[in-house]
Assembly symmetry: C2
């Protein structure tokens, strides 16, 4: 019987993170302050641990993973690489489909890969508390877990509507000892202002970011952490792609195409960056970030300097963006509802090295349910985007007869997302798409800054 | 760094189930009909697949696992054995603590080990539909998954109060294609009678069993399945203990004591039966089923013939029981709320080979939360019972200085049980214990049958 799970021993957890900046064909554009000047490391260390700021700006190819971080990784890593025999059979495809399953972490997604590293570096910098935001709850859970592992207090500003609709993500964070605050709250100036305007304000990721940043900036014992977008977050995630390469080598295979869901870019960077050198060396490999048509940052956004949050408090980054005041509709893949994207992922898309696509919501659930019925694992709605793209590729192979090797990241399980499955099964979900004019509107408000 | 996860390759999934009946010091007592006559295989095949009835009564020591079943097991098995380094450190114990983690199955518990086997044997018997009941939802989820894997329709009668309180377990079953009916329902005579008496009846496991059995008995295309208690269910679970033995050998260790949560006995049988021969051969190993003080079947029940369900529709089994009309209070470890226990587990307790204990609810949550904070995994409330017992043993070792080897079954994750954690953290849970008179009451209604 052919292998189903390709496992690595925990001694094979990568010893270094891979820094793609060292291999980019073009140097990355600097982050800018709102008045257009390059951001200095000093400005970042007021809310980030020094080691993380160093990683954010590093050009060193391989950055060693501290033993203390690898020790925590051992609780669930290396994660398994699966050959999707039963999914392939259901599709009747000649393609081979592999998926790297990151849902085995205690928090249920790939997010702890960076949360553990961030908690560690803050701990050794003498920081006692971490503040962060969470939308769907995956990053908040990951940081709650990681903070607990290193004895740090964690406060999570959770978008109020999620706080109310997803009580179990909140309970999970509280069980790991974190404090969860519905945002907007009375604890920050940003929150109080929002509540003064509208006491029933449901909150947004942008608002929660503002509250967490404000708290970190105003308390010397507290730092801020972010679960995606930034270079150091994508750096930490590269253990995913490194492990996957080893696992595929073990069965003598190599992907023709890789799919990963894309919101802020941590999945894409984590899986794809370790394959970029091969592509640069002429290997025929397609690297495809998959985003929702309802938030089509990479496929329909502008490549321009923009803020990372909706209120305009963060530095400016050169990235694909739909405009920082673009409000994505409430599709159920909460992790993919972001107006912008990682600067590194954006640049690689701009340079034609990554080839993003967008898929509509209903197709992602259809694919996810077929996957659950054949492979057993119930995927997160975010992961369904990658499954959907992999399925379409496999069905094309069926038509052409090509036995391609398809790889995708199954970034998490859907145990806390069953309300979305319910709605899909009840026929209450729909696809969302935008006429060009709608997107044009939010794109008009981009900051008037061009790359120097 | 010492190993954290002890893994086996999927080629090492056991090839046989271990049938403890072949090694019992005393032969098991026969199942009886309500009038006291031994149950014949014919009576069982009206609702069970013939191969399962054969296994129920078999005295063969090793029963081969069909390749089709092992193929599905490969989706998550062998499950990992963990060394609980961080939990040990938090307790400051000289003991070594290992746990076998069964929450890696797609349904999140050990239940699919038997569900897959039961679905397979029904499939090859030409059965098209399966009917079953579920309380907390773990067995229903497992059967929904297993039915889907073999193309069988599954109908799950879910205790109405659980159906309403645990909508996500229901969604999970529906995503895998099962039909979930709140019980009591209008679909069966038993259900209609209950609703006629009380239209707002919240249901009970006993009622749901009656509905599923009635449906299976009245439809030739439909069979009934059960997730615990019966010999063949415990048989299928013995892969847990077999894998664990191998994993411990790999690190050169052997347990001084094993703990497993005990409701109907499938965890206990699964983990402990494969260690019984060693004990019989004189090995000093303690085998300890752990039950809640609020449903103290093994520690305070009678060893007597009793019905398996509350309505008295099932055969009579010689077992420890609190009386078939004992209504356990709504503690949150739903899987441990059963008035009786597996006949095999009961007999081994009666013979002094298994040494059951009972633990109170608050202590189980306290232990489970310390475990989650150190090992990361958020355990099911049922599993917390084993964690609690392991923790007490480890703390005793701290006092005596003994470096014992402690092993327990972490039977599932708690992703669908966070409402219970919420209540615990809010101080809304309490311990439950019974004055002797209360237990005496339900024990008065035992059927007047003694072993022939």
């Amino acid at each position: 019987m052919p292998t189903t799970k390709i496992l690595l021993d925990e001694s094979e957890i990568p010893t270094h993170w891979y820094n793609v900046i060292s291999d980019l064909p073009n140097p990355p554009a600097p982050y800018l302050t709102p008045d257009g000047k390059p951001l200095t490391p000093d400005m970042m260390t007021s809310i980030f641990a020094p080691a993380l700021v160093e990683q954010e700006m590093s050009t060193q190819r391989w950055i060693p993973i501290p033993e203390e971080v690898r020790e925590i990784y051992r609780l669930w890593r290396p994660s398994p690489l699966y050959r999707a025999h039963r999914f392939e059979a259901a599709l009747g495809t000649p393609a081979k489909i592999y998926y790297k399953y990151e849902g085995v972490s205690p928090a249920g997604s790939h997010k702890p890969n960076s949360a553990v590293a961030q908690a560690y570096y803050n701990k050794i910098a003498g920081i006692k508390r971490l503040a962060t935001e969470t939308g769907a709850g995956q990053w908040g859970s990951a940081l709650a877990l990681a903070g607990q592992m290193f004895g740090l207090s964690v406060r999570v500003y959770m978008v109020k509507v999620s706080y109310q609709q997803k009580p179990f993500r909140r309970s999970m964070m509280e069980t790991w000892g974190a404090e969860v605050i519905p945002s907007p709250s009375q604890l920050t100036q940003a929150g109080r202002q929002a509540l003064a305007k509208d006491p029933d304000c449901p909150g947004s990721l942008g608002m929660a970011i503002s509250e967490a940043v404000e708290e970190a900036a105003s308390r010397p014992d507290t730092n801020y952490t972010l679960g995606s977008v930034l270079n150091h977050v994508l750096l930490h995630q590269t253990i995913i792609g490194q492990e996957t390469r080893k696992q595929l080598e073990q069965v003598g295979d190599y992907p023709d195409v890789i799919f990963a869901p894309c919101g802020g870019g941590s999945n894409v960077g984590g899986m794809m960056f370790p394959f970029l050198a091969d592509k640069a060396a002429g290997k025929a490999i397609r690297l495809v970030p998959v985003e929702p048509t309802s938030c089509p940052t990479l496929t329909r956004g502008h490549y321009a300097y923009d803020f990372g949050d909706s209120a305009g408090l963060t530095p400016l980054m050169l990235m694909f963006t739909l405009g920082h005041d673009f409000l994505p509709p409430s599709i159920h893949a909460g992790g993919l509802r972001y107006h912008g994207d990682s600067a590194l992922v954006s640049q690689l898309c701009h340079d034609g090295i990554l080839e993003p696509i967008a898929v509509p919501q209903l197709a992602t659930f259809q694919a996810g349910i077929l996957f659950a019925k054949t492979e057993g694992i119930l995927p997160a709605p975010e992961s369904n985007h990658a499954i959907c793209a992999a399925m379409e590729e496999a069905l094309q192979c069926k038509q052409t007869g090509e036995p391609k090797t398809i790889l995708f990241t199954l970034s998490g399980h859907g145990h806390f997302d069953l309300a979305s499955y319910d709605k899909y099964l009840a026929g209450e979900l729909s696809d969302l798409d935008y006429p060009a004019e709608t997107l044009q509107q939010s794109l008009q408000n981009l900051p008037n800054i061009t790359r120097s």
